[in-house]
Each structure stands twice: as C-alpha cells, then as structure tokens.
Subunit: 342 residues, 2 copies
DNA sequence: CTGAAAGCGCTAACAA
DNA sequence: TTGTTAGCGCTTTCAG
C-alpha cells in the first residue's frame, strides 16, 4: 500500500510514449526536440502522477554531481557564515548544492576533507582557508579540479581568486588614524604565512611611509594565528618591547578583540591611551566596550562572486584565471580617537 | 592521455576476479564473504590503481543518498554554526554529509527548501527552525521522512527533539537576579508562536512566583522576533508602559543586545539602573560594554545529539520518538549587579 | 519528431 | 567462496 514513487517509465506508460521522450520533454534543455503538444501532455501527466526525477540516476549517467565543496577553517568564526550564504545565493538557483567542510586550520585535516569532497564527486571547490599548501593546490590543478580561492591569492599557481581590497582597507585605517593625529601606529599583522597577512603588512608599511608617519619596523608584529589569543600575545609582546605608539591597526577583528583583553589586563584605556582599528566589521562590533572601529568587507558579495566564478570555470574549464578584488569601507566607532597628548 | 578513473571492473580484471568479488572485498560490511587472501590482494590492487568507488553509483543501487538535510533560519545568526558543527561531528564519521538550507524564517521558503532537500533524496532532516508549520510537519511524518527537531518541541506530532533545558535556564537567570536582590524582574519573551518562546515565558512566571517575587503580568512582553530590533522595540514598549523593574531576563542574547541599544538611546545605565541576562552565551559576550551575563547552552552538543538521534531513526524507522533535554549553566558577567536602591 | 538500445558504476540475489 | 545475471533510473546515441 506504500505508493511507490513514480519513475520516468511510469510517466511514459501513462502517457503512452517511450521513456526517452519523457526524458526529453521534462528536461528544458532538450524539450525543443519534442513536438510541443506531446511535451505539454507529458509534463501534465508527470505532474498528475507527482513524478520527481531522481537526481542520483541523472548524476550517474551524466557524471555530474550537482554539488560543489566549500572549504573553510571554521564555521563558528563569524567571518565565514556570510560568505557561505553568498555562495548559496548563487549556487542554489543554478541547481547546485554545497557541501561545507571545516579544516580547523589543520593541514592534514584540510587534505582529508578535500579528499572526501572529491570522493563525493564535487564539481568544483571554493577554498577559503589560509594555509592550503602548495603541493595540494598544484595537485588539484593538475587533476583539473575547478576551483576558486577566497580571501587569498595563489602566488605561483594560476587559480582564480576573490579578495577584498586589502591594500585599500589598510589605507583607510591608516588614513583615519593619521587624520585623528596619530603618528606612531603599530600593526598587529596576521600570520606571515597567509597571503592576506603578508599583503596587509606590506600595505601598512607603505601607507605609513606615504603619509610621512613614523615607519618603525619595531611597530609591526605578526600574530601566530588570526585569533583573539594570538592578537593578545602579539600586543603584549609589543608593549613589553617598549616602542611607544598611540594606535594599533589589527590584522582583523579577532586580533583587535585580543587587544581588548590586554587593555583590561593592564589597565590601558581605549581609545584614550591606544586607539584600535579592526578589519572585517564582524556583527555586534557596535555593542563592544568600546565599540570597535573596523574596515567593512563585503563578505556575502565575496561569496557570491566566488560562486559565480566557480560556475564559470565549471562551464568553461579552459578559461583564464581572474583575480577579482572587492572594495571595502571604514566604519568609525568608539575605539578610535585623537591621541592623548595632541 | 588523460588517465581515466579506474572503475570496479578495472580492479577486477587487474586482479583476475569478478567485479562482484571486488565489490565484496572492498566493502567492510561484506568483506567476510570473501576469502581473506583474495580480499587482501584485491584491496592492494585497488590501492595501486588508485581506485575510488563512485558513491553515486552505489547510491543509485542502494537508494540511499548518504546525505541529510539541516534546516536552519539563518547561518549568520551566531546561534547556529556551533549546532552545524556538532551535527557534522557525528555525521561525517558515519559516512553522511549534510546539506544546509536557510529559511530566513519564511514559511514559504521553508517549504521550498525542504522540498528541494527531499528532491535531492536526503535520508533525513534536522530541523532547527522555529516556525515550521504543522501541516508540513504532518506531511513529512506521513511520508515517513526521518527527522529530529532542534530547539523546539512538536506539540501534537510525535517527533524526536533535542532542546536545552529552557525551564532550568530561566530558573538560573531568575535565581541569579533574585540573589542579587532584585524583586521586580521583567521578561522580554521570544515570540509566542515559537515553542521556545512560550516555554521560557511560562517558566519565567513560575520562577518568579516560586520565589515570591513580584509576579506582575505587565512585566512580560513578547518580542515579535528573536532579534535585536524586536528586543529593542519590546523594551521601549515596556519602559513606556510604566511598570517599574530593576532587571530584565531576555528571551535570548539577541534580544538582550536590543536592550543595550535602548539603554544607549535613553541614557539608562546597565547594570546600575537595569540588569540584563541573556540566553545562549553567544561568542564575544565578554567583550560587550557591559559584558553580558548569559545562560550558556551547549549548542555543539545539541547538534551532536540531534545527529545521533537522526542516524538512529534512519536505521530503525519504527523507533519511538524521544525528547532529549540538555542542561545549561549561568555565566555571570557585568550586565548584572545589585539593584540601585538595595 | 519519436522509439530502440545501450549503459553510467555499482550491488544483490541466485547459482555454481 | 566466487561468478553470473540483472538492474537501480536516467540519458543519449542511433535509427526510423
């Protein structure tokens, strides 16, 4: 008494045509091959029977899984969910769905996760992890895996990428602080092993130089990770090393939050003693004490753009790799003010 | 020159056995059916050839997709990523992967998303949305779709569920405030149309009564949504209505954050004028100004438990529905203190 | 324009 | 213990 799900054959026999005709009539791509009235009749009957095509059978035949893999370090980092939603905004209407894996910034885990994605026959990869090692990247490229890098460039390997305009983001942050009167600005950089960390650190040095501010190499410290803890460690290190400064450009918001911990720990008043700027404009920054000035990055757009590019490279595998840059903007809040002594 | 991916047949002919034997040898479940040395040889050869089974073919044959659907309102709500990770913690080792859809709390979208999940042949559903309407729930149950509800109970329909101990959470919050000396405590409840909102509101009333605190119905206001804006609106409404109170138990952290907006707007000092407790213990609550006291809910565990239960009901469809409750704990922070006039 | 036939890669009776 | 056979549900040549 369980009503079996109708298959293509059921529709065919109900309509008095061959299964192949039903297949053609139901697929918009091939519908033109079928006489219009027949197609209409088949479609109507399919609907009446409540027919739902079985995508797995189609996938087996066409060797396309209709899924792509999204590789991120950690979904609980508020940085990533908007990117995921952006990706799905584009993928879902295109008939694709998306398998998400977390690498926890562990190289071995990253490799294992990408393996499992390939095992599941994903048609392409969107990779938003910082530490993807080059051998793996090369391997993927050699195997002709369609992919797009998010938030990082691939030096040496020719892979499409979508990144925020990091150079401009740093410019905006430094300009904002310089405009407030700061002359000795420190930078708590992201890990040097990540392209984002390196690019931002370089951009910081030149932004500072271009404005004739104090360009002291001692004012740039690289954090071990993109995390609160690592940010706190780096700031402690900087404070203990002794160079004076009145403002910090943090490599991202998490690092900036690490600074807040150190401020509390050492009785430093923000923004009066030290101003801080973050990057990413995470949610709820306006609720912090003090609210955090940050460079807003269009995460959802980044996801959308990455998905579009991936679909392109799935459709035309030969296409040249593009590197897309998305523009950013500054959100001034309570964590930045004039330095204490003009 | 593109080396075709080897199939089962390739392995079979390389090993000089029948494809069925290879299938049996490679599948741990059926390996016992094959003589050990043969199995070993087949496995070795499969490895040498770099053979990877094609899950799509297996899925077609076994009519199992190896995927489950996870239905949430919005991934960018920090509430959900830990749940997602919990789910994946359990699913991945079991060989399942997980398709995530966002409903944006829109009933029509919810239906469409669940449809698309079913179309993709998911073997079960984990549903973490508040507004799932009963007709849909009934329909799913009638069709024998395995599912688990997260964070909500299903009154009337017999479906397994995993929820935090909402009653105890409210108890903890009220107890904490009562211990500080508060006697008139308000509750900004979640929407009454959600089971969580209703349960917490009821628990609040009885917690207040049980302690002999002022049980004024005017001190409970339901928010239109589980959001900052709705929380702010509700608090404004409460303040304008006039009943005095020295503390607020917010339906969740987002609603509590909405209170912060109103405090800033009206020059109310928290915790001196009004104390606030949230629920969920979202990330970065300790960095807020003031840091927010909150009831910690074990989100990742909730996800894990939901996934375990779903796997169970996939494996034994007949099993009786269980309702699991997970315990919660209070994190006291800066947003709660003694009332101004002890 | 439609039907016939074959097969995607794998598994599961059944037979030997 | 292994091989044989058949087929999951669909698409896609190739004929007609």
């Amino acid at each position: 008494m369980t009503p079996q799900k109708p298959t293509l054959r059921d529709v065919a026999s109900a309509a008095g045509v061959h299964p192949a005709t039903v297949s053609r009539a139901l697929n918009p791509e091939t519908r033109a091959l079928v006489k219009a009235p027949t197609a209409r009749r088949v479609i109507r009957i399919a609907e009446e029977l409540g027919y739902r095509p079985n995508p797995i059978a189609r996938q087996l035949k066409t060797a396309k899984s209709g899924t792509i893999g999204l590789v991120i370090p950690d979904l609980t980092n508020p940085f990533f969910p908007p990117i995921v939603r952006g990706v799905e905004d584009i993928l879902a209407p295109a008939g694709y769905s998306c398998l998400i894996v977390n690498t926890d910034n562990d190289l071995a885990r990253e490799r294992a996760q990408i393996d499992s994605l390939r095992f599941r026959q994903v048609e392409g990869l969107i990779i938003a992890t910082a530490y993807l090692d080059h051998p793996l990247l090369r391997e993927l490229q050699r195997d002709g895996v369609a992919m797009v890098l998010v938030n990082r460039r691939s030096d040496g390997v020719d892979v499409p990428s979508v990144t925020p305009d990091d150079v401009d983001g740093i410019e905006l942050a430094v300009e904002h602080l310089a405009g407030l009167g700061h002359r000795r600005i420190a930078h708590l950089a992201g890990p040097g092993s990540t392209s984002t960390g390196a690019v931002r650190a370089r951009a910081f040095r030149s932004a500072v130089r271009n404005r004739g501010l104090d360009d002291d190499p001692g004012l740039v410290v690289a954090c071990a990770r993109w995390s609160e803890d690592a940010g706190a460690d780096a700031l402690r290190q900087l404070l203990d090393a002794g160079p004076s400064f009145t403002a910090v450009v943090a490599g991202n918001d998490l690092i900036a939050l690490g600074c807040y911990d150190v401020f509390a720990e050492r009785g430093i008043s923000c923004p009066h003693d030290i101003s801080v700027v973050g990057i990413n404009n995470m949610p709820f920054l306006d609720k912090l004490g003090p609210s955090l000035t940050s460079v807003a990055v269009p995460h959802q757009q980044i996801g959308q753009e990455a998905a579009r590019m991936l679909l392109e490279s799935i459709r035309e595998p030969g296409r040249a790799a593009r590197a897309v840059t998305l523009s950013v903007s500054l959100r001034a809040r309570g964590s930045t003010s004039q330095p204490r002594r003009g």
